[in-house]
Symmetry: C2
Subunit: 437 residues, 2 copies
């Protein structure tokens, strides 16, 4: 073996050094806690799936960006998972009617999309998925939104920092009909609506005729796509918008009522420009946005998907929230410490040898403390300068320093509280109790 040039990680992926990992775990821990507090159980699936799991079901938006592969000499085409919903639908279909109703599941998997790297977009990222299956009700739609908001709130975000923009595929279809979109152009109109914010205006104008819009229709479409309104007070966007059918309207109003009963209305607004890019959504859809960034989260109701994967008819609603945009938003709002290592658990104690006899005893003392559950750091320096070593102890953020040396012959060590500076002599056999208190 000979030396080689430094190899880089693949473009669009991340190396997580301890401070990067501290942020990732901080976010994941808020996700996990919000899920568990709502009674959701964690699941996961394989990191790669058979390619046809994605090509059969998802919209164009995803299959264009797949990392697909075939083993040399192999017969199967695989793809790195680009999202969780197909895996979830496959898992629900496999268990069929034996699952309890409702099924509340969450997952925190990584996903892969072979797209151009840009702000908020990477080729590998982590995403929280929350799904409630078995109940077709606006209270379920509101519940998954409340799970998302609990996590965002516990990360320090407040209404106004992020907004849940809520829409409904049926309502949008009705409204688009009313401004003249023909049924045969509806899918294309949805795709255009989903991408509109990302398209240069000139390209949007160029595409409008393909969905049957003349100049007047295009202006109406543009106006429709750009109107948002708070859920409460001000303009009642739902009443103002022509063409929404009674069922979709009822569903949106009931979702609002359920959000109101949890005091979550002020986080939310109506935005009929939201349709979500994936083909499988059927009812309420939503995205969570902070100003000036891509969506922090997106989801909605997908009542037909499980059945399409061979399972029983299963109404379902859920969302995904990625770590990349959320991390940018938290940093932007000053909600991450300057040194992310401060997010990590503090050591219970830092062991210091005051002399060579003390140094000999450190391994066994550390071992005993760790076996009792304590988080223990030691110095790797050969220095016996207790003052300097106490500075190292403080830098480690330990709650206390344990100085091992002079008093050892009496079976004692010195414990120094690093916040108050108070010092005590503690018998070695009581040290575990003292450190874990």
């Amino acid at each position: 073996m000979s030396g080689v040039d430094k190899i880089q990680g693949p473009k669009g992926t991340r190396d997580f050094y301890p401070s990067d990992m501290a942020v990732r775990r901080h976010i994941e821990s808020a996700w996990r806690s919000a899920s568990i507090r709502h009674g959701y159980d964690e699941i996961d699936g394989p990191t790669f799936e058979h390619l046809n799991l994605y090509t059969i079901k998802s919209g164009e938006g995803i299959t264009n960006e797949l990392f697909s592969f075939r083993r040399a000499g192999g017969e199967n085409d695989y793809a790195l998972r680009p999202e969780f919903t197909p895996t979830l639908a496959r898992m629900v279909a496999a268990r069929g009617p034996s699952l309890s109703v409702p099924t509340r599941w969450f997952a925190v998997p990584n996903f892969f999309r072979a797209e151009r790297q840009q702000r908020g977009r990477l080729r590998e990222f982590y995403q929280w998925n929350v799904d409630m299956l078995g109940i077709d009700s606006p209270t379920a739609d509101a519940e998954v939104i409340s799970v998302a908001l609990l996590a965002l709130e516990s990360l320090g975000l407040r209404p106004g920092d992020v907004t849940v923009r809520i829409s409904h595929r049926g309502a949008v279809a009705g409204a688009l009909s009313a401004i003249g979109i023909a049924p045969e152009h509806m899918d294309a109109a949805f795709t255009l609506l989903d991408r509109k914010d990302k398209l240069p205006p000139a390209e949007f104008i160029q595409r409008a005729p393909a969905i049957g819009l003349d100049d007047k229709g295009r202006v109406a479409f543009e106006q429709f796509s750009g109107t948002r309104a708070p859920m409460t007070g001000g303009v009642d966007l739902l009443a103002k918008t022509a063409g929404i059918d009674a069922a979709s309207l009822g569903s949106l109003e009931a979702t609002r009522d359920a959000l109101r009963s949890c005091s979550l209305e002020e986080w939310c607004e109506w935005d009929l420009g939201i349709v979500r890019g994936l083909a499988y959504y059927t009812g309420v859809v939503f995205e969570i946005h902070a100003t000036g960034e891509r969506a922090v989260a997106g989801g909605g109701r997908y009542d037909r998907l499980v059945e399409l994967f061979g399972g029983p008819k299963t109404p379902a609603v859920g969302f995904g929230m990625g770590d990349v945009v959320l991390g940018l938003v938290l940093a932007d709002k000053g909600l991450l410490p300057k040194d992310p290592l401060e997010l990590l658990p503090r050591p219970d104690c830092f062991l210091i040898a005051a002399d060579d006899a003390g140094a000999m005893r450190i391994p066994s003392i550390a071992s005993t403390l760790r076996r009792s559950g304590a988080h223990v750091r030691t110095s790797s320096k050969s220095s016996r300068n207790v003052g300097k070593l106490l500075s190292d102890a403080a830098r480690s953020r330990a709650r206390m320093a344990v100085i091992v040396g002079a008093e050892l012959s009496d079976g004692l060590v010195t414990v120094k509280d690093l916040a108050s500076g108070a010092q005590h002599s503690v018998p070695l056999d009581e040290l575990s109790t003292f450190v874990r208190a």
Copy 2:
């Protein structure tokens, strides 16, 4: 879209339903806690790397089993990570001398190996990696072993359930020389030694001449590969084995002394048949075994690897411990509950509506409790039969049931402790304090 046949997950991968995930998180949590208690910081890397990260450095054992791929139209060959050490070496090389000495890092990534699925072997699995870099000392070797043992001990395993088999590449090379292996056959002899337990005896006999062994030499090789001995008491295997050089011997003895000072000797034995399959190991190597299973963990010293990836000369020692074999061992020893869902956190409370007015209030009560940090479950049944709903509450493993109904007009709810059966009326605005106590 039309219905399709049920799609299966790829062969050798797992779907983690809640009870499977509970076991995975139980194991990961022991891994993480043992790492943190020893002062290790968590890191991670990308799930796929440039293919040449693996083809350049690792032994034949790994590169044969890579899931490698190239994007249609792309120029780069990638591979799903089959192990963590190359990523770690790349990350250390990228940061170079700016890292603190020693660097203590752990990771809990998933890995991929395209091998035949069999007991204890899957194509995707999770593996704990623990590495200490920057210090070339037997105390570092002993420290990573003690991290591994702390996790196994906290999962309920005891000495005798699993054994750390310790060896040294230098010692093995010396001993093999002494029984007549020529330097040009040493690599092949290591490979044969590593695989010997997995080969049928006839195939071993057939392969012996290729490493220059006549019948007598083969018997000596066989004897050498099969001898294990406890570290303490009984046969002193190191003294008995001819050809071990002084440096390797000193290193093994100092490792034993360091393990002894942490009272870990009884978990360990000498086994000069252990060499590890990967080409990058340089000194002490070890595997952790339970009787009758593949290795639970394996690791050792790899002092030249970081330099080979373009970084500064960096002594290093570490190990990997997979979730699959460990899960089998825990199940075999009765160390997992019959219902793995018992491993999950218990709900703080289960909300029950005693009447329709109560049902109306449940969403807002649940929301308030969850925002205060409580883990709250609710019934999705429309039943108002409090007795039946209390059974559901008990089945959910909640600590208490909160019955919302009759007393609402007085601003009260009934809290029932599900273990003792004790009941209290509690003012609604004190419920959070009560539930979180």
